[in-house]
């Protein structure tokens, strides 16, 4: 494991000191389910939420509890094997345990911090309101997510491994890319390579693929189909493998068989713009400035129509993290951040993961 016990302990200390104490929060509830931001729970406990909800309960002093939906006793066994918590409980009604924790401490009118609860099951919030008529609630989701933006050395090591896995996966795919292959078969090869290279393997979502093939000039990438590739087809793929919970993204576009001169030139041209965007990212710039720069590069190349909204976002334990690289986000880009940058025009789709260093950005992908 790249992330050590002491790093997890350090995170709990930081959350208590930097987020809870200044706000006088007595108990912090961090919610996640497999749909909404599992990264917050994993960040604190290493628990990879799947097929259920999970909630971290962190009092200002004392033991960290982890509750989760319990379909089967096997989940409890697994939780104890992989998660770092002092207390585990499989329960449909986590609010009861929250009440126990507050009552044990004899706190009246508690201040309860909330993370990720905007999308929690409504019955859980109803229970909290019922059991805590005397409490105040304070949402600090953004604050915890901002805390997670800058990655530690160990986290960066995980991201680098994920990028290596993505590269190996892409190479395996390229080796099988030919007329007559199907999207399905190509992804099977790429997935196999990713798993052999060490990607997390709990669910299919841990190695995400999005593809588009055929005449993709006006299409977006989507789930894999059983389409068979023909001569001259464009094949675009985005690979996002997870390593110890950390994800990167690598996206490339190819022509099946021989590409025409126009196709090669177009691919080189857009690749060059994409590379310029990536290399222009520097610490000290704001996310909106990066987006504006990218917009400018596309406009200069006569491709203004292809700039839509965001050109990327943060990445790490969640597939989409702060900041968003769009014209509205004023977040300062700082060393330690990991960003995904995407460029798409005329059926050429490219994506890379960038690590922000002390003075410049490093493109993690080697392909």
């Amino acid at each position: 494991m790249f992330i050590t016990d002491s790093e997890f302990e350090g995170r709990i200390v930081r959350v208590r000191c930097d987020l809870m104490k200044p706000r006088n929060i007595d108990l912090l509830l961090v919610y996640a389910d497999d749909v909404f931001k599992p990264g917050n729970v994993r960040y604190l406990t290493n628990f990879d939420v799947y097929a259920m909800y999970a909630m971290v309960m962190l009092p200002s002093v004392g033991e960290l509890s982890l509750t989760f939906g319990l379909h089967h006793s096997a989940y409890l066994v697994r939780a104890k094997e992989v998660a770092r918590a002092d207390y585990f409980r499989g329960t449909k009604a986590p609010a009861s345990h929250c009440r126990e924790l507050i009552d044990e401490k004899g706190i009246s009118h508690p201040l309860i911090g909330l993370v990720g609860t905007r999308e929690m099951f409504q019955c859980m919030r109803t229970d909290l309101d019922k059991l805590f008529p005397d409490a105040s609630f304070h949402d600090i989701t953004v604050d915890l997510e901002r805390m997670r933006e800058k990655k530690s050395k160990a986290e960066i090591a995980c991201l680098k491994r994920s990028a290596i896995i993505a590269g190996q996966s892409l190479r395996a795919l390229k080796a099988h890319l030919r007329v007559g292959s199907s999207e399905q078969q190509l992804i099977a090869e790429a997935g196999m390579a990713a798993r052999h290279a060490g990607a997390d393997v709990l669910t299919r979502e841990m190695i995400r693929f999005r593809v588009a093939s055929g005449d993709v000039a006006f299409r977006s990438l989507g789930p894999v189909t059983d389409r068979i590739l023909s001569e001259g087809d464009t094949f675009a793929v985005e690979i996002s493998p997870q390593f110890e919970g950390y994800r990167t993204v690598l996206g490339r576009t190819y022509v099946v068989g021989n590409s025409t001169l126009v196709e090669s030139e177009l691919s080189r041209h857009i690749g060059s713009i994409h590379h310029q965007i990536c290399m222009s990212i520097k610490p000290g710039l704001r996310a909106c400035e990066i987006a504006l720069q990218a917009k400018g590069l596309f406009e200069k190349a006569g491709l203004a129509d292809y700039v839509k909204g965001s050109i990327g976002h943060g990445i790490g334990l969640d597939p989409e993290e702060c900041p968003r690289l769009d014209l509205n986000d004023e977040t300062l880009v700082e060393p330690g951040m990991a960003l995904v940058v995407r460029s798409a025009a005329h059926g050429v789709f490219l994506a890379d993961t960038i690590l922000i260093g002390k003075n410049e950005a490093l493109i993690l992908s080697s392909e």
Binding site: C123, M192, P223
Partner: protein
């Protein structure tokens, strides 16, 4: 050009059944939520033929008006329009806000709203409805009543159409391919992860568009779990569950093998597992209640004096499986649901052998027919040793 998995008529028929049930339940509109994670897009798939790529999507299905499909992945709008028969497909940058606007535009601010999708693990769809969506409805339409429509949807989609059965047959073949890969690969010394990777590759190459595989390895790690780097060793009882998803439909098969010499003791245990599985399958008949079947199987296992089905909770010999990996009806000792023609079930009695601290699980995918049943996966005749 729109390309749905089934002809439009099939989706029309589904919507008609849903609307009939809505009318009986007094629902003015049905909100069907779905997301990609853990296959929670099943109802969106079933009604709209849309496979949610990432962020949640929602179908707004009024009783007496045209439905709308709201998708949060704006970049997927065009593909969504190619896949679904629903004419009104919209991008929803803020699902709560866009859901309310859609309800308003269809004049659905009063009456009763049904919620489906997102249910599971003991939560109804209404309980599991995300707080932001629930609050948005409550604030915009204070007099509206919300209710879970999971049971209503369960009963409709549990009976497979002939076309769905054809898809399930193909999905079952993929399970068989997974089983072949298991037996071709399993050996002493291989790690769970290596074994799992080979099986995954075989099924994905055969067309599985999603997969779930779990491993149980007694006595070291006998609860079903994701693969680890632990290596199979002599004396291990290895059980695998393969659940490929093909065009939105799951099937399931359970296979097992013994690592080491097949002694007399192992032969007796394996024979028991086969007999119990066969008895469970033979009991799957239309008109029969689940709990009656389970009771017979529990007695059969107890009679063998080799194992038990007491592993906590109700005794269970399987469950529905189709558009969801694990769906209604459950085959448990407390389930009074009657088997009906057209249901498709994963039948896998779970036997625990205490002195070996191991599970014995063999299972097949079974279709309930008019007069009996049909096993769609290739039934395993014996449990091998390697």
């Amino acid at each position: 050009m729109i390309e749905t998995l089934f002809p439009f008529g099939e989706y029309e028929s589904r919507v008609q059944k849903v609307r009939k049930a809505m009318s009986e339940e007094g629902l003015d509109v049905l909100l069907i939520l779905g997301s990609r994670q853990w296959y929670r897009d099943h109802y969106i798939h079933y009604i709209a033929n849309y496979d949610v790529p990432d962020h949640p999507s929602m179908i707004v299905l009024p009783l007496d008006d045209e439905p709308a499909l709201l998708i949060c992945d704006e970049w997927d709008l065009e593909r969504a329009r190619e896949r679904t028969w629903i004419a009104d497909v919209r991008s929803a940058s803020d699902l709560a806000k866009d859901m309310v606007e859609t309800l308003r535009s269809r004049r659905l601010g009063t009456g009763k709203v049904g919620i489906a999708g997102g249910e599971g693990l003991g939560y109804t769809a209404l309980e599991a409805f995300p707080l932001n969506l629930y609050t948005a409805i409550k604030e915009a339409f204070p007099t509206v009543e919300m209710d879970s429509a999971s049971q209503m949807m369960d009963k409709i989609r549990a009976i497979r159409s002939p076309r769905e059965i054809e898809v399930l047959r193909k999905a079952s073949k993929i399970s068989d391919i997974g089983a072949e890969a298991f037996y071709a690969t399993v050996r002493e010394g291989i790690s769970e992860r290596e074994l799992w990777t080979e099986i995954w590759y075989a099924m994905e190459s055969a067309g599985a568009q999603d997969l779930h595989i779990s491993i149980s390895r007694g006595p070291g790690s006998f609860w079903p779990h994701p693969p680890s780097s632990a290596r199979l060793s002599k004396g291990d009882v290895v059980c695998l569950e393969f659940s490929p998803r093909f065009h939105g439909y799951f099937t399931q098969a359970n296979r097992m093998c013994i690592i080491g010499e097949m002694t007399r003791e192992w032969r007796e245990l394996c024979q028991m597992a086969i007999e119990v599985r066969d008895a469970a399958i033979e009991s799957i008949l239309p008109g029969v209640m689940a709990c009656e079947v389970v009771e017979r199987i529990v007695k059969l296992v107890a009679k063998s004096q080799l194992g038990t089905m007491d592993i906590g909770g109700a005794h269970r010999i399987g469950h529905g499986s189709g558009i969801c990996l694990d769906e209604w009806p459950a085959l448990t000792s407390v389930s009074r649901t009657v088997r009906q023609e057209g249901m498709s079930l994963a039948v896998h009695p779970i036997i625990y052998v205490p002195y070996l601290h191991s599970l014995f699980i063999l299972g097949e995918y079974v279709l309930v027919t008019k007069d009996g049943h049909e096993v769609l996966t290739r039934r395993q005749a014996e449990i091998p040793n390697v």
